[in-house]
Symmetry: C2
Subunit: 449 residues, 2 copies
Amino acid sequence: MHIVIVGGGAAGTSAALELRKRLRDADITLLEGESYPEYSPCALPFVIEGAIESFDDIVVHDPSFYASVANIDLRLDTAVVSIDTAKKVVHTATGPFPYDVLVLATGSAPFHPPIPGLPGPGEGKKTFFLKTMDDAKMIAGALEGSTRALVIGAGLVGMEAAVAMHCRGLSVTVMEALPSVLPQMLDPDMSRIVSESLAREGIDIRLGVPVLSYGEREGGVEVHTSSDVERYDLCVVACGVRAQASLAAAAGLAVNGGIVVDTQMRTSARDVYACGDCVLSTCAVTHAPILGQLGSSAVRQARVLAAAVSGYPDTYPATYNTAITKLGPIQAGSAGVTVAQAERAGLSVLSYRFKGSTLPEYYPGGETILIKLVYGDGGRILGGQVVGSSGVLCRINMLSVALQQGADLAFLAGMETAYTPPLSPTVDPLCRAAEMALRKEESRRRARS
Amino acid sequence: MHIVIVGGGAAGTSAALELRKRLRDADITLLEGESYPEYSPCALPFVIEGAIESFDDIVVHDPSFYASVANIDLRLDTAVVSIDTAKKVVHTATGPFPYDVLVLATGSAPFHPPIPGLPGPGEGKKTFFLKTMDDAKMIAGALEGSTRALVIGAGLVGMEAAVAMHCRGLSVTVMEALPSVLPQMLDPDMSRIVSESLAREGIDIRLGVPVLSYGEREGGVEVHTSSDVERYDLCVVACGVRAQASLAAAAGLAVNGGIVVDTQMRTSARDVYACGDCVLSTCAVTHAPILGQLGSSAVRQARVLAAAVSGYPDTYPATYNTAITKLGPIQAGSAGVTVAQAERAGLSVLSYRFKGSTLPEYYPGGETILIKLVYGDGGRILGGQVVGSSGVLCRINMLSVALQQGADLAFLAGMETAYTPPLSPTVDPLCRAAEMALRKEESRRRARS
């Protein structure tokens, strides 16, 4: 069996390795347009920051691993030009690759916002996007000798880039057209804690400030807002990503903002599968099609895909949007949907915000942790957000696990959690949050009746 | 309504406060034999260690809080002598307390092991048990001028006491008749990591070494083992606890190693409830009666009890034994049952041990985390153990939450978890552990068929 995989990122490489585990005798060819085998794109801001020493560190496997250990034919710098699903062949500049099974793992590309004068990816000298290893290397290079950096966009990548450059000693400004940071993860009441914390660190965050026009000038960039004209030494554009589905669309596959797949990662074309950032997922809470865009989802999808190809059907469930970020001193996590997302989906939604501590009051070193629970009328959990300086991973993962099992507030409130004074309070703040939310809903019900 | 509560620890005090929330007009009397209002007994080793500055810090509420804020009549130094359930009155040295509703929260007492010559609680000069505030104060006092300390018993309290005294600069020896430390929480393969880590710290841990006889000598204690006679400046005896149920038994209540209660915390006597360490719980995994003995359980039971008394029946579920401890550089957590406990309960049990890391390989500062999953034939999770230097709370809580929802290995393996390089690997080690366990069971099944 000839398996061709388009895209050597986390999704494609995981698919290749999972397929190799299950199909000892298959020929597996992995086509990658970039010059690097799989690396961790989520780690790029942390290499720029200096927390990770070198870009080489984040390459997952040495190139030699693919042929010698995994028996995978990895072709770097091999961009795919077109796919012929009738003849079952993939065309590249270096020649055709026939397939029995094709896997599309073409990932996502940064969105190029329609700001007059803004260069696209790869077009500017001091204007950078942050998606690939080469993007990050160019940014890291541009930091030398620069003092003032601009970030356009206050999503996850924009904020991580801002913190990275701040850590490298630059004066950093973030401009965001929307009124809050991390809008995909946090409602404004929670993200305010994040933006205030970073403002205290010295990052200049301007919310509700769209960039009206933009130009590269000698040795830097110039941006126009409604009130100002400002110059910076460099700019990182981070206005979200889009699924790279144009190859699939051109080949006649069903595409709807992302490649359409079933729960076994099969596309609309026979023997063509897809996984990772390029596919359309389903939001487990709203049941709406969404772009998952999480590294962890890519790995899980690859596993389901390999099972399907090898005849052991598994299913990839809907996605719960479980995400976390560390921005300097502050951590923020999210699972399920925010109030804003739930409302946009037409769900009836309630929420409760709770301020707790990571340790018992009497134990030194406890830190404030803020938890927001998002739930439906009957108390069913729809999502949650956690912000704090530590302990965020633990609570967001607990919440996500409970959510994945259809938990309600009463379950969360009654959950048994582990307690020892140096590590946790008697009753976990997540349980306390649910308990308080239950109490609020109880008095609301009483007041109504 | 007159409510009398016997025992002012976490269980009794939580019950009093929960009852006050629900019953604004009840008279609530809280009878406590000790001289302190509620404090955190789990924190005692950490005060001895010096991590918490003062014993005063761990007192939960100032004595004045009870009368002035909570409208609770707290009577310290008021030991209960007997209970008359027919006349509905509690007798104390200072007089009778009639009740409409009685709550027993009499807690637990340290076990006095049958070692010839070993003084009981309060009987020795250099021999201490570690259960109450006064016990801990006496131990802290005895450390001054001492250089060699012995701990008999390597359970949770014994190990925490050993680490505390080690931190205070004493040379500490632990003698345990059983072959491993923390046998209630960990199987021997996991607890070995803990004992080896503490041995490297300089604590002398002797397993499978019963103390054959014991005596207090001038300025210290002398112990005889099968091979040696040794002298220490002081000894902490920590051989487990027993439910304090003698008052209940004398009053004719059903007692079976602990006070028997239903899921609403009602005892066998009319209008008599009980909660906390003194009651018999049910193990959620084996369905066997067990002593829960967790501070977190006490609080939850108190809540259920208050709901029942005030006519809003809730139920206290079986217990999942979710526990964690921090012993110097190492943390250990447990949920559900160990392999040993499952086997003793006659369950068919399998297990898998996985060594992962708390961070992606490339991110500096990742630490080894060891996860053992305990599961039944069909993959249903029965329990789990986690040992490491960090990140243990997160994994044991996730595991406990999944266990509380009846998860199996496939669920654990597929759980969506939050990922960002500075805080977590792409796929959480708990999920990886389950994935590897599934794979092992799959090949075992294939080999069999």
